[in-house]
């Protein structure tokens, strides 16, 4: 079905906030919040629509959110900025849910999640995601760009080309960063913290 319903339409606010980015201003809370909320709503909607389907389909959600919030009025620059912000927001969203699920499992103080929300992260993935997030934060310290590539490729579900556009780097850089970041993250996850050489060299 056509996704951007002209009646609900885009209100232009997000387009406006995005154009602030083009003037070099940092990502505003308002923009992040707006994108985050939209992703959240779409994620819940998707869970309801595809009962029994394990997949959250972040790729579709991010693209749908773009059509809803920006629609046909977006140009190349606003699109690439949007994709970068949305990938960050999607990471935040998934990690928030993973944390709440994991807290719920341990019988922590968090209130039980409403059903449609509980399904946003398949339960067995929440611990994996939290471990990944921890390693990703370490990577961010010494290679922020590679971490952003992971954000776009993994959390945002963007392809290499879109990631290159979103981050304003070459496609080749994206491919390389993605390859080395994946290997590094996986090595971290399977060995626990301690990129031996790098830490030693530091000390």
């Amino acid at each position: 079905m056509p996704i951007a319903d002209p009646a609900s339409g885009t209100d232009g606010e997000v387009t406006r906030l995005l154009s602030d980015l083009q003037r070099g201003e940092p990502v505003s809370d308002a923009l992040f919040r707006r994108v985050y909320d939209e992703l959240h709503q779409l994620a819940r909607h998707h869970r309801r629509r595809w009962k029994g389907n394990e997949t959250l389909n972040t790729t579709a959600i991010v693209h749908e959110a773009y059509l809803k919030l920006v629609g046909g009025s977006g140009d190349f620059a606003s699109r690439r900025h949007f994709m970068a912000v949305a990938s960050k927001a999607m990471r935040h969203l998934l990690i928030t849910y993973a944390e709440r699920q994991s807290a719920g499992k341990r019988g922590g103080g968090e209130a039980a999640l409403p059903l449609d929300e509980a399904l946003i992260i398949p339960e067995q993935q929440s611990d994996e995601l939290l471990a990944l997030e921890e390693a990703l934060k370490r990577l961010e310290h010494f290679d922020p760009r590679a971490a952003e590539v992971v954000e776009c490729r993994f959390f945002g579900g963007l392809d290499a080309e879109e990631t290159a556009e979103a981050l304003g780097v070459s496609r080749r850089t994206v491919t390389r960063d993605w390859a080395v970041a994946r290997a590094w993250l996986f090595a971290e996850l399977s060995e626990g913290p301690g990129a031996r050489l790098l830490h030693d060299a530091d000390g």
Partner: protein, 810 residues
């Protein structure tokens, strides 16, 4: 837990290099490259060990999160007057539905392609496909019936529905004979030749794009990545870039893999592969699988097995009935001779050695069927020699001499050639690795968040590596020298930049016959290096570059446009051509990139910077302001280029127009933003900060100036490579300001540092305007300390003319 970034950069670069190697070559690679560094080796081995599992892990986890479903889950029920019957598949850029007329007026079945996302590049390609198809009417080309836009803005195409199967499957299912296959193939050639006459190259011919219907009609599909040619038959470069990554490597021609111009010869090649598969049942390259990289290497280097041999080989392996073996053996005999030669001629690596046109290819096949002599002759020694010379020029020159002297040693020569070729290929592989390493570094050089002085430290060993390891590979050596030269030029190490860039040019001149893109690149960058120091030389180099680019590219081309702008910038102000060339370049950029593109802003900014443009201060200010506006609209205010424009605008407003307050504000903002987004060791940032500090000094805001200048003097001394211009400039102004503050001792120390470096840099390249700070430094020190012997006449003159270079090239 900060990891040293240079260490990590190295890990990254090396990992990218080794991960591209086949497994068997990794161990020797480790021994060769990491022998002396056990720690590095351990880390890279750790990553390598994780790699395969990492891919699986992320794919699995990713699938659970991202979804493998495409953009749209459910198909629309109707599109225009068409009712969707079912989804027929989806490809790289769209989903294809089978549909019928909703009103039932005619019993017509169509295929509707809908673009899958709003990504502008996909939409553009889609619209391009529509334009291309609209121009083609041929019984063997799938027809475009209609097109439009969905409610949400996604474009769609309505096409003739082709109920058929891939040509190879059709031929096999119907057990067509060799001659029947050739007749079928002739239809395909006709369609492609027709497209070529309409200046359209298909570029992606493969069995799945050539369907055959039940009645035996071949239909060509998917002009998705076709390139429109210019009227004169030259490929349209604007579109070539999108083509490559969409390619199926098995059917890609060498020029497509190398990203070289695509011509009708590319389709001749793809038709050659198609015919090869049709006749033998095998693909000539990558028949046994392999990674994309491995297949590409085969396409570039391996000579295809003759079709008859390929068939006979599979006859030897056939385990089926004896009948099949007999059949294959018979077919092998049928292919031997003419057909082998025809197919191999179509598959030659060099486009100019293939058939000149699809018609010529088809004609030769027809002559063969009619029993006439064919155009494709056995590959002569001349041809083989020639193709080899291209691959490895120096090695062959010596061997050729030997051949002329002793013609009896032909056998020996042939052996020699094989050995030489193996060596040449080994070099090419290594050059690829060096290039991969370099590309990564150069990507990093363009990335404003990567510290350039760190980069230089990593690159230093690369110079040595190039000298020794690439002694036999002049092409790669020149590339390394060139890249390093550019980097040193950015740091103001004119001595090293000069020798490296000229070295690269010399090598390239020996390797290539002009006009050649590599030579043009060298000419341009040497010109650029000279802009500040010796504008006259810069003019000569830019002109040579522009002329060569004009020979190389018919019509618009970014490099031609840039060299026109640079050339015009260096022309004397009374030259009537100056304005004309500039506008030529600017118009070209507008046509290629648009009226408000960063590329245009860059050209305008470049032209006016350094004051060679001859514009009035008002014109300069207007130009920088326009560039800044465009940057703000497109790449954002924090982009390094925007900061350069802002800084220069500040300088013009302040120095030349007397608009002090505004000027200072722009300077302050550019430095403030630069401090946030640029690495501290960025030479351009140093220039911007010095401009700002010096202006504060001139306004008499000595305390503010001291804050800015002491900071930048300290940073440059600590972070920039030794003897770079930025250290000298910052210390010069830092010292002068200290003098005004009455802190003579500190001033002397700073000015001494400045003098040492400025003397050094100026002695090499005599940068315009930069001799003034040098002499002024002497002067001031002499005046204050009496330690320097300077003739007072020149001293006075210099002091009177004392003025810092007003618009820095940043």
């Amino acid at each position: 837990m900060a990891v040293p970034p240079d260490r990590w950069m190295r890990v990254k670069a090396l990992f990218a290099e080794v991960v591209a190697l086949p497994h068997a070559e990794r161990a020797p690679w480790f021994d060769e490259h990491l022998d002396g560094d056990a720690e590095l080796r351990v880390e890279i081995e750790r990553l390598l060990a994780a790699e395969a599992d990492a891919n699986r892990y992320f794919d699995t986890l990713g699938n659970k999160i991202q979804g493998t479903d495409d953009f749209e889950a459910e198909p629309p029920e109707t599109i225009g007057i068409w009712r969707i019957v079912q989804e027929a598949g989806h490809g790289g850029m769209g989903r294809v539905y089978e549909a019928v007329r909703e009103d039932g007026l005619f019993d017509q079945r169509v295929a509707i392609k809908v673009v899958e996302s709003h990504a502008p590049r996909l939409v553009r390609r889609f619209q391009q496909e529509r334009r291309i198809l609209a121009g083609l009417e041929h019984p063997n080309i799938c027809r475009l019936l209609d097109g439009g836009t969905l409610d949400d803005g996604r474009p769609y195409l309505v096409m003739e529905y082709v109920d058929g199967e891939p040509i190879t499957a059709y031929a096999d299912r119907n057990q067509l004979s060799v001659d029947e296959r050739l007749i079928l193939f002739a239809q395909v050639c006709e369609a492609v030749a027709y497209a070529h006459r309409h200046l359209i190259i298909h570029r992606d011919l493969k069995p799945s794009n050539v369907l055959v219907t039940d009645d035996g009609t071949a239909k060509l599909l998917d002009f998705g990545i076709a390139t429109l040619m210019d009227e004169d038959g030259a490929p349209n470069h604007g579109l070539t870039q999108t083509g490559r990554r969409l390619l199926t490597p098995h059917y890609a021609a060498p020029e497509q893999i190398l990203n070289q111009p695509i011509t009708t010869a590319t389709d001749v090649y793809a038709l050659g592969i198609l015919l090869y598969v049709l006749l033998t049942g095998h693909r000539p390259f990558g028949a046994t699988g392999g990674s994309q990289h491995e297949i590409e290497q085969e396409v570039l280097k391996k000579e295809p097995t003759a079709p008859s041999t390929a068939v006979s080989k599979s006859a030897g392996k056939a385990t089926d009935s004896g009948g099949q073996v007999l059949d294959l053996t018979k077919r092998g005999r049928r292919l031997r001779g003419d057909l082998d030669r025809i197919v191999l001629k179509a598959l030659r690596k060099e486009p100019e050695r293939r058939y000149a046109s699809v018609e010529a290819f088809a004609r030769d096949l027809q002559r063969h069927q009619e029993g006439l002599p064919v155009e494709a002759r056995p590959a002569t020694m001349g041809y083989r020699l020639n193709s080899f010379v291209k691959r490895h020029r120096t090695g062959v020159l010596i061997t050729i001499t030997g051949l002329i002297l002793t013609s009896t040693l032909v056998t020996f020569f042939a052996v020699q050639i094989t050995a030489e070729r193996d060596r040449a290929e080994a070099y090419a592989d290594r050059a690829d690795q060096v290039n991969a390493f370099l590309t990564d570094i150069l990507d990093a050089a363009d990335d404003p968040t990567v510290d350039r002085s760190v980069l230089l430290k990593i690159l230093e060993p690369a110079t040595e590596r190039a000298e020794t390891e690439l002694a036999d590979d002049p092409d790669a050596r020149a590339a390394v020298f060139h890249a390093l030269g550019n980097l040193y030029a950015r740091f103001g190490r004119w001595d090293l930049a000069d020798s490296l860039l000229h070295n690269a040019l010399l090598i390239r001149r020996e390797l290539h016959t002009p006009p050649h893109p590599d030579i043009a690149e060298s000419l341009y960058d040497i010109g650029y290096m000279y802009t500040e120091s010796t504008p006259d030389s810069a003019l000569q180099y830019f002109r040579a570059a522009a002329e060569m680019h004009r020979e190389l590219h018919r019509g618009d081309h970014p490099e031609l446009a840039n060299s026109l702008v640079q050339w015009s910038r260096m022309m004397p102000q009374d030259d009537p051509e100056k304005r004309q060339r500039f506008e030529q370049g600017i118009e070209m950029i507008k046509r290629m990139f648009g009226e408000r593109s960063p590329e245009l802003a860059e050209a305008i900014h470049e032209y006016y910077v350094l004051g060679f443009s001859g514009g009035t201060p008002e014109e300069l200010a207007a130009a920088f302001e326009e560039a800044l506006d465009i940057y703000r609209e497109t790449v954002g205010e924090q982009h390094p280029y925007a900061l350069h424009a802002m800084n220069n605008l500040g300088m013009v407003l302040h120095d030349a127009l007397g608009r002090h307050k505004e000027g200072l504000a722009f300077l302050a903002r550019s430095v403030e933003l630069g401090r946030e987004v640029l690495p501290p060791a960025d030479p351009d940032y140093a220039t911007m900060a010095v401009n700002y500090g010096a202006t504060l000094h001139e306004r008499g805001q000595l305390q503010d100036a001291d804050e800015v200048l002491s900071d930048i003097a300290e940073t440059t001394a600590r972070l920039l490579p030794e003897n770079t211009a930025g250290i000298g400039q910052s210390h010069y102004w830092y010292g002068r300001n200290l003098l005004s503050l009455g802190r003579a001792e500190e001033a002397e120390a700073a000015l001494r540092t400045a003098w040492e470096i400025l003397r050094y840099t100026a002695a090499i390249a005599k940068p315009r305007g930069k001799s003034q700070p040098r002499w002024t430094a002497c002067t001031i020190i002499r005046m204050r300390t009496g330690r320097w012997n300077m003739p007072s006449a020149s001293l006075w003159k210099l002091e009177k003319r004392r003025k810092r270079p007003s618009i820095e090239s940043v």
